[in-house]
């Protein structure tokens, strides 16, 4: 018996010498490991399921085109345009609206948010209208935009700007509140004036939160785009989707959705790069 024990333990010891078993503390939650393979597999499964359901006509063809048909529609829209405009005119029109609205929302949202974080009066004054309007779905006040501002570009951009304004204001306000009192005290004891305190301490401290707010608001902007382009538009990705739906051109609707998804993803990615460049210290400390 004793020789058996020795024989069984010997290979295990040898294996241990060549490649030690790496261990780490057990952790709760999903952890930080890359989920890329799982995510890719998940995407592949969804694509395959779509292909099978469409090819086997489990769902009527009118409702669900095959992946190949959507790809063909994409190529044809890219080459010949759709609804009296080229693809670039559609995308350009939508991008212009998003950028204009973002510029307004950022230019107003950051200073107002900072002010609300610093000053009791500013917070009291602006809290009421912002808390009232921001939970509203943009579609609910879309008719008002049309009645007040007409059916031109103004109403579309104002609608988008309103939707994008709230996340920026709220994040700038939260950013000011997250400034540590110790940092402020340190600056004051080094002789900072009120203006220097704002520029050197408060603004950089609030910057990570503000950038997160801008990222969220861009997401909201893309989400509101289709609603904005419901208003008598002749260009835009939202308009492309709406007009395709009138003709039950489901493949074109899919293409439009894909374009919005790609744009939104690109924006989100660009914001992450901007964050990595502007606030490399985020998460340190």
């Amino acid at each position: 018996m004793t020789s058996d024990v020795a024989a069984t333990s010997a290979p295990a010891e040898r294996a241990h010498e060549s490649a030690p078993r790496l261990v780490k503390m057990r952790r709760f939650g999903a952890g930080e490991g890359s989920t890329l393979p799982i995510s890719l597999a998940s995407g592949a499964v969804i694509l395959a399921a779509w292909w099978i359901v469409a090819e086997l006509r489990i769902v009527p063809h009118l409702f669900l085109p095959t992946p190949a048909e959507v790809a063909n529609a994409a190529v044809s829209i890219f080459q010949d345009g759709y609804a009296n405009a080229t693809l670039f005119e559609h995308v350009g029109a939508s991008l212009l609206r998003i950028f204009a609205a973002a510029a307004i929302a950022i230019a107003l949202g950051i200073p107002i948010g900072l002010l609300m974080g610093l000053n009791k009066w500013a917070k009291g004054v602006f809290d009421t209208p912002i808390e009232f309007y921001w939970p509203l779905p943009p579609l609910a006040y879309l008719p008002l935009m049309i009645i007040w501002l007409g059916i031109g570009e103004t109403s579309k951009i104002v609608l988008l700007a309103l939707a994008m304004f709230a996340p920026i204001v709220l994040s700038a306000q939260a950013g000011v509140r997250s400034v540590s009192q110790e940092r402020v005290n340190a600056a004051l004891s080094l002789g900072a004036t009120r203006f220097q305190l704002m520029r050197e301490i408060v603004l950089p401290s609030a910057l990570p939160e503000i950038l997160t707010g801008i990222r969220i608001s861009l997401g909201v902007g893309w989400g509101t785009l289709v609603a904005a382009e419901l208003i008598a538009a002749t260009r835009g990705i939202g308009y492309l989707i709406m007009s395709a739906s009138h003709f039950l051109a489901t493949d074109v609707v899919f293409v439009g959705i894909g374009i919005i998804a790609a744009c939104a993803f690109a924006f989100s990615f660009a914001m992450r790069l901007l964050e990595a460049w502007l606030v490399p210290w985020k998460g340190q400390n």
Binding site: E182, N185, S189, L190
Partner: protein
């Protein structure tokens, strides 16, 4: 000379009761003195420091630095915090130069002066690093250099070594004595370590809680012995050091027991 005259502080606690944090504390910090305030948590020593720094107004009494009444924070009093308050978006040397920037000193000049101060605390090779790349002890050294940059009359230090491991802590104590000896600043230093208090201070005040007041004062010369000889172990092993440490430990325990009995 910083003079605290019958300083009292009352806070409103969350539950509406009034907390008597500081009770008619009087204290003088002469030029070149190293005054250490020792006491258990809640004895008002941080309250006293915050009032000296100008972060906290007094309920009654007054604080004056070289005859001028303290009414708010200012660059004439450098503060070193327990948790360093360095700015992560600035390099180490820019952090040290911050006070000079506020004072309007040109960039080249303020960075050169900050670099000199980094040399004083032994960090001349780390000016370009980000604060979060440094260890806790190194960050506190940056904090000390930053507080010195505006050439304040006094350094106010709020348990600056409390979060450091004991080896680093001893190194930092010796470095601080060196800085004090070379710059000739007055220092007001808070700690709850009896040994640290005895080793660093030329003057020691022991505080007791509720209400915060000074219960004992000592004049010490251990720090001068260390500055003269550079032998920290000999200073701490001297019989007089051990005897005084035991006396003060007994005193602190006594005030703790009195406080518990009073509750």
């Amino acid at each position: 000379m910083l003079r605290v005259d019958k300083a009292s502080v009352f806070f409103a606690a969350r539950d509406g009761r009034t907390v008597h944090a500081l009770d008619r504390v009087s204290l003088e910090i002469p030029d070149r003195a190293f005054v250490v305030a020792l006491g258990a948590s809640g004895c008002g020593k941080s309250t006293l420091l915050n009032a000296m720094a100008g972060f906290l107004p007094l309920s009654s009494g007054s604080i004056a630095l070289d005859g001028a009444e303290v009414t708010g924070p200012g660059a004439d009093r450098g503060v070193v915090f327990q948790k360093d308050a360095l700015l992560p978006w600035k390099t180490v040397v820019e952090n040290v130069a911050l006070g000079l920037k506020f004072a309007g000193v040109r960039r080249a000049e303020r960075l050169a002066r900050a670099q000199e101060l980094l040399r004083l605390v032994g960090l001349q090779d780390f000016g370009a690093a980000a604060p979060y790349e440094l260890s806790g002890g190194m960050r506190q050294r940056v904090g000390i250099a930053r507080a010195l940059a505006t050439d304040p009359a006094i350094l106010l230090m709020d348990e600056p070594f409390g979060a450091l491991d004991s080896l680093t802590r001893e190194q930092m104590q010796e470095l601080l004595v060196d800085v004090w000896d070379r710059t000739g600043k007055q220092i007001f230093f808070i700690t709850h370590s009896i040994e640290e208090a005895l080793f660093l201070g030329t003057h020691l005040v022991v505080m007791s809680p509720r209400p915060g007041r000074i219960v004992a004062r000592y004049d010490l010369d251990f720090v001068r012995a260390f500055a003269a000889t550079g032998d920290a172990r000999a200073v701490k092993n001297a019989p007089a050091f051990g005897a005084l440490r035991d006396d003060i430990r007994a005193l602190v325990h006594e005030t703790q027991i009195l406080r518990t009995a009073a509750q």
